[in-house]
């Protein structure tokens, strides 16, 4: 069953330049769904729209069957949807621990819940525990990404939207992040990600969506793409 789905989205940043044109998308519960496409295809725009950062001109977005179109961004975390944007979203002047505490904002002053959530995430990513007193801006790129992903898991979301979680990372760290995705899947968490490492992303995904020039180009399960993927993406990979 689709846990998050979007129908016929038309989205623009301003005016009548539509960046997404009639795009539809759905992610099945407990699966990994990956969106791929060339630079500028509108992948990030799609995730931003799913998360309420952009309001679609037309189309609807549903979460567990209920419309969430036009829901305010700060409400999403309450519904159980988490989002890690493509660009850096940590607070560089705050420590790792302080960044994690901000991720538990909606727990208010429930210290026990805050501490438990942070302990859990530090167990999953021990580096965050080791570096808790370090200013987040001083972490390496990979550690910052792990901090962002860890922070998004603090509220135990049921859906995680990850925009290029492995971009610009060393292969070994990318590997660790893919393993995390698989772990999340085994914990019944739905993962929606945008990724440029087509080969590796393909290997961990259950479903794939290909966007090109702001439109759906193709979609299907991994098995349906076996063999035809190379043909599909030829031309836009450098």
């Amino acid at each position: 069953m689709a846990i998050i789905e979007a129908e016929n989205l038309t989205v623009s940043y301003y005016g009548d330049i539509d960046i997404l044109k009639d795009v539809s998308f759905e992610a099945e519960e407990g699966r990994i769904t990956t969106i791929i496409g060339p630079n500028g295809a509108g992948k990030s725009t799609l995730l931003k729209t799913l998360y309420g950062l952009l309001i679609p001109k037309t189309g609807t977005i549903r979460f567990r069957g209920k419309s969430i179109t036009g829901l305010k961004v700060h409400r999403f975390i309450h519904t159980g949807i988490a989002y890690v944007p493509q660009l850096r979203s940590i607070f560089p002047d705050l420590t790792v621990r302080e960044n994690l505490e901000l991720g538990t904002w909606i727990f208010k002053k429930d210290r026990k819940r805050v501490d438990r959530a942070i302990d859990e995430v530090c167990e999953r990513f021990p580096i965050l525990g080791e570096k808790r007193k370090t200013r987040a801006g001083l972490l390496s790129g990979g550690q910052q990404k792990i901090l962002e992903i860890g922070r998004s898991l603090l509220t135990r979301p049921s859906v995680c939207l990850l925009d290029e979680p492995t971009a610009t990372l060393a292969p070994r760290i990318a590997e660790q992040i893919y393993r995390t995705m698989v772990d999340l899947k085994s914990e019944k968490i739905t993962v929606v990600m945008v990724d440029q490492r087509v080969r590796q992303a393909f290997d961990v995904s259950d479903h794939l969506y290909i966007l090109e020039l702001g439109r759906n180009k193709a979609s299907g399960t991994r098995h349906e793409f076996e063999g035809s993927l190379k043909e599909m993406i030829k031309g836009w990979l450098t």
Binding site: V73, S89, F91, L102, G103, W105, R151
Partner: protein, 309 residues
Amino acid sequence: MKTYRKTTLSVIVIATLFLAMVPVLPLSKPYFFYMMFWITMASAFNIIYGFVGYLPFGYVMFYGVGTYVTAVLWSRLGVPLPLAILCSGAAGLVLSLAFAPTLRLKGIYFAIVNFASAMVLRIVVANLPEAWAGGSFGISLSGAYKPLASYYLMLALTVASVVVGLWLSHSRLGIALRCIRDDEAAAAVMGINVSMSRLKAWMLAAVIPSLAGGIEAWFTAIVDPDTSFNLMSTAKTIVYAMFGGLGTITGPIFGAVFMYGLDDFIWGRFPLLNLLVLGVTIIFLILFLPRGVVGSLIQRWPGLRKIIE
């Protein structure tokens, strides 16, 4: 209690005691009244500019409306002064809500719209029926002149606004505001209600100068549109707060005390020079001390954060 809390609180207590003694000591009451007035203005301004990052160039309008509400209520309707001053605060809140939609504007657009609004408001007030608002001559409150009572009321407001600033910097609202200032989208993703947090800060930053306006109207016992909506008041507020250091609590206090003292000293001796000093200070600040005195000290010795904030 943390060290800085203790230091700050003891400084506040000592300063309050001293200011409370001023009327019985051979010191100038108006001088210290206005010193408190500027501390209040600069501290309140710090809430919207230091914490939120919005620069209201027409900040004087909250003060101006405060002066007029108190003056009109007392002189035309016979409302007792303390009550009239509370109504000034309420008027500031209403005005801030009326301008809430402008918070959607960013940076210089917000500043310009706010600036223009203050000028419009000044013209409106100056052209209200003379029987009500006194036209360009203003309103006299000499029948209610009570310098001592209004002095102590200003002291109470000053202490309150400093305490509000301290509370804010450690409250969830303050944390939310700093996050929003640093990265609005990231803050929203974390579940922080960006527009509501900004609105709360805006209302706080508005109610304080409106109350200050009401109290000042009582202290001087005269209100006129040129003084009430004088753009120099915004300029002074900005410079005093910036001189000390925005985003800190002690900064605007230090800036107001020092710069007001300097301003008063120069104005007393070379009346025409004070504008020049203000202008030169702005240039000096922007070039050499963009974080203000306290802000630069903290930047230079981060350990200072433990004793001052």
